[in-house]
Amino acid sequence: MNAPRKAFLAARMAIGDEQLLLLAAILIGVYAGLAVVCFRLAIQWLRLMLLGSSLNPSFPRIAVVPAASGLVIAAFVVLAFPAVRGSGVNQTKAALYIYDGYISFRTVIGKFLTSAVAIGSGQSLGPEDPSLQIGAGLASALGRWLKLPRDQMRYIAPIGAAAGLAAAFNSPITAVLFVIEEVIGRWTAGVLGAVVLSAVASVVTEQWFLGDEPLFRVPPYHLAHGAELLAYAALGLIGGLVSLVFVKSVAALRPRLRALPPWTWYLQPAVAGLFVGFVGLRFPQVMGAGYEFIDQAMHDQYGWRVLLALGVLKVVTTTASFVSGTPGGLFAPTLFIGAMLGGAVCAIERLVAPGITGPIGAYALVGMGTLFAGIIRAPMTSVFMIVEVSGNYSIILPVMISNTIAYLVSRQFQEHALFDVLARQEGTVLPSMEEERESDVETVEDAMRDVTGVTLSGDESLAAGIARAEQVPAAGFFLVDLGAGVWGGLSRSELDHLQAISAHDVLLRTIAAPLALPYLYPDQSTVTALRVLHGRPFIPVVHRADRTRLEGMLALEDVLRAMARAERIK
């Protein structure tokens, strides 16, 4: 091949970094989808092997399997895969903010194996968080092989996490929202495209093999009566309080168990398994992820006492499994607890006010979102997750009410969200997306100064302008209205200089026009203002609907003063 032709082909076939990231995102989605399918198959296979095919396993299996599996899991975790203990969400965040996108492939394998054994043997944990981490780990590996640039490599783990979570939940919107809301923290166009592509590719792959069966078969929903919303509000309150109990239990027990002598780490999952098995003798529903029993709760298969007992016992068993260091996620248990509490609220309401009570499936569904909002503290995800898994838009009203109340209750009495608590316990300081979301943004309006007396007309002569400027001796800078929303600026020293060298009847317009200034709007952030202020003493602040209307003016020291004031308040 001759050189020009080779160069021509090279130019045609060259892939830019952005296109490469998008292509990689699709591949990550496909591989994450395949991995999650295999992960689910592994859990199902282990469940059948270890606990049998009945939904109510026999006594010997329940008594022995979780505890014995706990010993095996502990040996794997302590000796071979120490990194699998933590939360997949936090490890993905750590890859993003600390390790430049690095997640060890060994962790992926370890998470796959140990989580599958844990969930398959009945430990009260779910497969979503491991799926998320498996996706993130695969993405990290592919990114390393592709030698992606550092800025893209950082984001590769969240892209994989979205793919893993989307396949686990069979719901791409939830996964994208969760990763944006809880891991990345901002809507960056380039990354968003890759996150969406990977999530969609993984769901398509997963559905290719497992079909498009929704996670839950939800009975038809309708709001039986307006007053029913009060029951949903009560569910929000109860969900918020239960979330608090759960998060505080995990936060209190986890470091204590971790502080015990290292030899106990080999026994902790087994003890947790023994406890889960003990509870499972009477309530086998609390074992494993429990999706089949969520389905049953949605179909009115339990009375309120059983629902309440299952909700409470799942809090206890999940706490035991998780704090013992057994790998596995909290998403499915969170949904389980929520479904049971929601069902219990509905069943009790039905006893008290049968005429205004809607179907139990709706309460169970809203309960899931409520606990998700209370425990995971991702309010947007919690709302859209319920809409997506139910395929029912009309349920959004009770979901919003209940989730908001649970979220507020949880925030009121628990300073940090669960994942932030876990990260702090692991000694990693990761940015809290919740705190970032809620940090006050200083605006130009907070910092700008009054413009009374410091505006000059472009149609005034230099002499008139100087005369007006002398009336405000404290002012050092004057804005000149050049008409049509254009503003120029002259400092007092410039005016003094012009007085010496220019004709006094010259119009200010002619002098200030070349010095036309950019402008800011009152609602813009002080960070934006800093960028615009670069090298300029003052900037006019104008009304958004009418640029001729001056709202104020801003100098660098105004911005710094406002920022310092905000920091003091914080």
Partner: protein
Amino acid sequence: MLPLSFSTALGRRRTILALAIVGTIPAFGVTQSLVHRSRDRRQQLAVDWARQGQRDLAAARAAEAAEDFRTAQEYARDRGEYRLQLAQSLIAANRFVEAQSQLLTLWTQAPGDGVVNRELGRIAARDDDVANALRYYHGAIDGAWPGSAAAERRQTRTELAQFLLQRGDTTQANAELIALVGELPPDPAAMTDAAALLLKVDNRAQAMALLQKALDLDRQNVRALRLAGEASFSAGDYRAARGDLEAASGASPLDAKGQQMLDLSTRVLALDPFARRITSRERLRRVVRAYAVARGELARCPAGSRESLQAQMDALQPKVAERTLARDPDLVDQAIALVTAVETASSASCGPPQGDALALQLVLRQPRSAS
């Protein structure tokens, strides 16, 4: 952003991308194989648990059957038949709320499924939820059925009519039955069933027409004969009633009610002085007999309530003879008027009549034309 150089990074990336893309083929193959095995295993488990459920259901262990079908359904979530069987075993275990919830889920997936709609209709009917019963029963009637759809639809409409009858909504029940008549096959048993319901909503004309059709197809249809006899009896057509009931009794012994109707029909036909196509002499003989029956009935009444009528009867008694009545037609009218007055009085205060007295009551209460 600059394109990557052809020789180094781009070359390596392209190779890895190509490998990753090609690698999806074996990865898909392996996963497909695992999924296939897992699916087969789960399908087999579903079948096994469903069989166990059917065995439990056959042995009247409905609660255990429900658990079996629940497990089967878990292993084949996309198979609605297990959820339906679960719902049916829950119904058999009298756990209607749970069954309804399962059925509603099936309904959202297949709102036109006849079986699901009928089960939901039955639960709504049991709960006396008229709106939903109508909705789901009609959904079943218009829905899709496996196998003999026409028979299932007729059965469903019949159930709906029975539900409406129980609620006393005869108008709506009649409308359903009229629709049912149009769907009936040439089957005497089905026609007789429908006719029985039509009689309950007082649609005698259509009931009789249907029974006649049934009898045209099968002259020995005892039930049709009995129903036709009863219907004729209720309508005061004692001749037809006696004919049908006698034919029915000839094929199979009548029950007590049927036998009583036959007996009464025979008595009415023998006692009725207003009957057509009888001789004058026979008519007078029947007037005399009716008078005697009325006298006997009056004697049954308690003292204090009969004196006036008794006196009138005693006064007229010597004149009530065939020969006397034949000479004086006004006497016939007097005698009949007095018999009617006695019947009215005795039915009000002397307890229910029996035998000829009851037959006389039926005769006197029959509507007659002015002629």
